[in-house]
Symmetry: C2
């Protein structure tokens, strides 16, 4: 279907927004009136620019507070509407959005509103435009799309139809099924926005917290299905008021936005987006730095086995069970150790590559020599590179043999990557969630907030249903400069107490846990004295699921560059991440940095 | 009264928090359990540190989800409570906060809860502590302080009392008058927090948006009056969960917090804070820079009269009507023009100075020579300096005669400073509001949000009732680096069209307003063609109050350094700031910066 987006969804000037939408590949845009008012270019120039960029101008919006008023007020409103229709005409736009009255309505009567809309329709028709009447969720009298439709039906004017906005319908909990009662030809426009499940006044929710489809709690696919069943044939248009998108690069937001419409059309089987199954597990994690030797020391102390150097690149492989860490010193001048890439095993690498391309995920470019295994690739919004190979039927992926000592690691306590925690700048968080859910089919857990010593850290886990791939995304508080919140790789192990003891004997420096923590663990969970003593001796942390036997023991290494390691053991189906221990970790990490 | 604050209200480690609270002058603190758990120091060390700093440790908190449960769960809860009481004992704290059960309660029965609190009271007494039971606003069964008191009354145990928290009472709209039914001796603790009037779920509201007393919409003085009438004699303690204070300098937050308690006690006539009346008007505005000559050119073009150089300092005075601009090049190396100070005329400068000192406002230090007029002074949270003198009965303040050509300016279109707009970093916004309202008796209008091209700008006006002093505070969107949102000084004038024409003829560079804006003004307000033509010719902006004749014409200069000027004319009691034009201004300023 035709795709469109309201210019209010993006940051920048109107000209910048048009360029961003065209570059992303949108078919059209809705022009937000304040964007035009603040623009140095005339309506005719904007019309010509859009034509050159290949964008249609689909809607001019919004015209507010027109109907449900006394006659004298209405006369002035008609004049105001005429001026707006004239501007729309100069832009070459044939549809103007009219919102239900929120401020000046005094007459709560469908017949009056219909009669007034009919008069506005006459003026609109004189200007060669039509009006799409929308029930705002906080309209003074008209706050339900079914009432807006009743008024439009009463108005019975060819230039008067309705605009449907998923936010205004779903935020109020109104049943979208009744949309099918509206003749498709009278649905003049469709605006789409998702939103998180928040309990707050609907106006603030709408103005600050809308999201692109697939990022929130609304059933957008179900909503659109009703609209299509009604016979609507216009564009799928995004109108997303969001504090982040208002501020960040409009080019990136436009791609992100269009990806959300591809995801939505895929869910409705309307777009040719290739299917791909979610990943089976992690294949490797890559740490990149000019000098990775400090990481090598850590991995050695933790029982990882060096798998040798790559035959053509300054890259080394370290293995423990099925966990593989690639240390990359290629083109890494001045870089401190950080997670640069995540490798995944997928059921069909080619299918995943096709899906990633269809969803506009940018490819990552790495030099691949003849006879080396090619990877599928994509770059996540925060710059982390994702690679994937088809899961080998047995043994390890072919690329492992490109390393000189590419032997499988001997059995040891560490057996797999449990999760990879990526820290996100606030600018890319929503974008990253849609990227991982749409391209890789991961599901997004509800976000949580972890109190750190200098603010709340927002954390949201993206994962496969079976937990084989888990990628928590952490967003630092504002006061913490981007990047100073470290990433980490967590490894699953079988006997964490033995591993910790061996590592300590090998000289590993643990993240130090305060004594008070162990008094707390004993008191809160009633853990027996011997276990508490062992935890205390080895700087191990403990968690237990409420009302179950599931528990969790884990520990952290010190941070090297901007990455640290975690080692975890899950007992009795514990499925969390020890989130209550995160404040202790964050405080210890901060204390270390400052001492 | 004794003052206290919960450590959760501040950023940093527990040790940093204790130092900050002691330095600000608090009498005591509540220790938030997670702060202790994450702390490297033992409870005994914390107790000793607090003693050395002169702080009492007033409360250990919180102990959650204890009562209203089945017997087997309660047995474990008793064990957990005992461990917490032991820790409190090691800290030397005699009161532990017990919150009403939010997670595990299964029995909705006052008698059961009372019996369980009684048993907990026995264990507490064994440890030499008492428990203060608090109804959380989102408690599973107990969410009203009156019910918490009924349960405590039923428990009838000397170690069991209630804790009252203004947020939990007022956020639910519960009548605080019933507090007077509780015997004062059974109110074991009092926690205070203000909050803005938000419509959202009470848990999120509480966790993110609490404010210090005097900053929000709650009647804290009325609340405390009921608690005192009940006979409460414990500390006034602040518990403020706020996303900003969690992140920012704990030393500054602690002073800010204590100022709020001084303000509150002043409102209750409990503290010796000197009275002072609000200012009568602006006395001057000071712009500071290494080189102020570009500002001089602007002022000259706008009809300001140079009042000469100061006799002892590299400072010049420019006047127009009663508007005085001081240009200061003293100790300003590398500084671009910015608003450095605001001078106010007050009814009694000594009274304002005493009040500022009592409210812990830091003084600003300026070199004052013999025979120069001394000013009262304070530094606002954003660093802007405030000075004040007693309003002279007639004529101008004595300091004006310190300038060599200190003659009053001839009559001209500009007659006064209308408002001074200060841009705030996000870190100091709440602090600034309390500073201006408490020290100067300004009132705070409701905040608004202005859509700029790169995000929402939050704006809140602080003003005197008569509008003689108006100080809007603007907070930039995150993506805009601090300081890049310019400050401005607005001058009131009598014939703005004539002023604009004269200034243009004198070569003034106006902020350029897009043509589209004038089409919009004509359409929206039905302004006649001649007026629109004059507005368009001179880059003037227009606004009108809804449903009244009050209207507003204004224009902006280009920005010099980080300051620009606005000239305004208010017609027919227009009392606003042309806020709907702010997006046009912000877009034009951004466009200028980028071209």
């Amino acid at each position: 279907m035709k795709t469109s987006i309201a210019t209010v969804s993006l940051s920048g000037s109107l000209v910048e927004k048009l360029h961003a939408c065209a570059a992303a590949g949108f078919d059209g845009v809705e022009v937000f009136e304040p964007d035009l008012i603040a623009c140095e270019h005339s309506p005719e120039e904007i019309r010509a620019l859009a034509a050159r960029l290949g964008l249609t101008l689909d809607l001019y919006q919004p015209l507010r507070d027109l109907e449900g008023v006394a006659d004298d007020v209405f006369a002035d409103n008609l004049r105001r509407a005429a001026a707006t229709f004239a501007t729309a005409g100069r832009l070459g736009i044939d549809t103007v959005l009219v919102c239900s009255n929120v401020a000046t309505a005094t007459i709560d009567d469908d017949a009056v509103s219909a009669a007034q809309l009919r008069q506005i329709g006459d003026v609109a028709a004189d200007h060669g435009v039509r009006i799409a009447f929308e029930a705002l969720a906080w309209g003074r009298f008209v706050d339900d799309y079914r009432r807006a439709w009743r008024i439009v039906e009463l108005a019975d004017h060819p230039a008067v139809g309705v605009c449907l906005d998923s936010f205004h319908v779903l935020s109020r909990g109104h049943d979208p099924a009744d949309i099918e009662q509206i003749p498709g030809a009278k649905i003049f426009y469709l605006q789409l926005a998702d939103a998180p499940a928040l309990q707050m006044d609907v106006l603030s929710w709408s103005r600050h917290h809308r999201l692109f489809p697939g990022e929130g709690a609304f059933d957008l696919a179900g909503f659109v299905r009703h609209v299509l069943a009604a016979g609507y044939v216009g564009p799928l248009s995004l109108e997303v008021f969001n504090d982040t998108f208002r501020q960040t690069d409009p080019g990136r937001t436009a791609v992100h936005a269009l990806r959300s419409l591809l995801w939505l059309q895929d869910a409705l089987h309307l777009a040719p987006v290739a299917d791909a199954k979610p990943p089976n597990g992690f294949d490797f994690v890559e740490i990149k730095a000019e000098d990775t030797s400090e990481v090598e020391v850590l991995l050695g102390q933790l029982g990882f086995i060096p798998g040798g150097r790559h035959r053509s690149k300054p890259v080394t492989l370290w293995q423990a069970g099925s966990a593989r860490v690639v240390l990359n010193e290629q083109q890494a001048r001045d870089e401190v150790p950080h997670v640069a890439a995540i490798g995944l095993q997928v059921p069909d690498a080619d299918a995943t590559s096709r899906r990633a391309a269809d969803l506009m995920a940018p490819a990552a470019y790495r030099r691949t020599y003849a006879s080396e295994q090619p990877f599928g690739s994509a770059v996540a919004p925060d710059g982390t590179e994702l690679f994937w190979v088809t899961q080998p039927p047995t043994g390890t992926a072919d690329w492992v043999s490109e390393f000189r000592d590419g032997v499988p690691a001997a059995g040891g306590p560490v057996h797999a990557v449990d999760h990879v925690n990526l820290t996100q700048p606030w600018q890319t968080t929503e974008d990253a969630v849609l990227f991982f859910t749409s391209v890789f089919g991961l599901s997004a857990d509800d976000p949580t907030e972890v109190p750190g010593p200098t603010g709340l850290v927002r954390s949201q886990v993206l994962r496969t249903a079976d937990g084989a791939v888990r990628i928590p995304l952490n967003v630092a508080p504002l006061a913490v400069a981007d990047g100073s919140l470290a990433q980490h790789i967590a490894f699953a192990c079988d006997d964490i107490v033995a591993l910790a003891r061996t590592a300590r004997d090998a000289g590993l420096e643990f993240l130090s846990v305060p004594d008070n923590y162990y008094d707390y663990v004993a008191g809160r969970f009633g853990v027996d004295d011997d276990t508490v003593a062992a935890l205390r001796e080895l700087d191990l942390l403990y968690d237990r699921s409420p009302g179950s036997q599931g528990h969790f023991i884990h520990f952290y290494t010190r941070t090297v560059g901007s990455v640290f390691f975690e080692f975890v053991q899950r007992f009795d189906h514990y499925d969390g991440y020890g989130v209550d221990n995160a404040p202790v970790r964050l405080a210890a990490q901060r204390s270390r940095t400052r001492s």
